[in-house]
Amino acid sequence: MNKIRSVFVIGAILFLMLQILWHINGDDMSYNRLSQDYYIEKGLEETSSKNLVTAIYLDYRLFDSFFETSTLLIAVTGIAFMAIKDEDLL
């Protein structure tokens, strides 16, 4: 019974992933290059950064990189909380 359920769950997840893939790409299965062309064309004049990686993570996706730094803070705090046994250190 458990095995049948896991197979059903995996099938449902794969079906959802295919749906999302179809939703993004449309009928043809080739990658679309819309955002790539946009970044290469307008990245310098919109963000004033010659490095496109910096242009994306500090301007287009700044909301993401803000929470990305928060994950590092949470990870370090959690490791310090779990690893140190002395009460007076924390």
């Binding site: 004033s48 910096t54 500090l58 301007d59 803070l73 990870a75 370090v76 705090t77 490791i79």
Partner: protein
């Protein structure tokens, strides 16, 4: 804890250059390869060399975690400046009329904040493991 003399001498030789290299990578993050995260990790590695040289860690974990939180608060403060200067969230504080040299300052400040935050985070990670290993 004592390490071998060769390791200590080589660490003393490399340490200032490694610190300089990390700050170079952070500052030039928007005009060449690199960025805040990479420079911060190199800075944290130079702290590990410093631990090899003197044999003990000078910062306490308490202060480092507190510093980490303060730098994390400084990040949204810099991000939200663009709301008052341009009326838009989460973008460059200077509008597109300014020259590149002025608009680059925003990326520079954000790279510095992210770099120091990553450095402090990894240093506190090192301190946690060193405390566990020595006790």
């Amino acid at each position: 804890m004592r390490y071998s003399k060769i390791l200590i001498t080589i660490s003393r030789l490399i340490l200032p250059f490694l610190l300089m290299f990390s700050i170079y990578i952070i500052i030039n993050g928007d005009i060449s390869v690199g960025g805040g995260f990479q420079g911060g990790v190199i800075m944290a590695t130079s702290y590990l060399l410093y631990y090899f040289i003197i044999g003990e860690h000078p910062f306490s974990i308490n202060k480092m975690l507190k510093l980490d939180k303060y730098i994390f608060i400084a990040l949204p403060v810099v991000i939200i400046i663009s709301l008052f200067m341009r009326g838009q969230y989460f973008t460059n504080a200077f509008s597109m009329d300014f020259p590149y040299e002025v608009r680059r300052l925003f990326l520079l400040v954000l790279n510095l904040i992210i770099g120091f935050k990553v450095a402090v985070g990894f240093v506190s990670l090192f301190i946690v493991f060193l405390e566990e290993g020595n006790s």
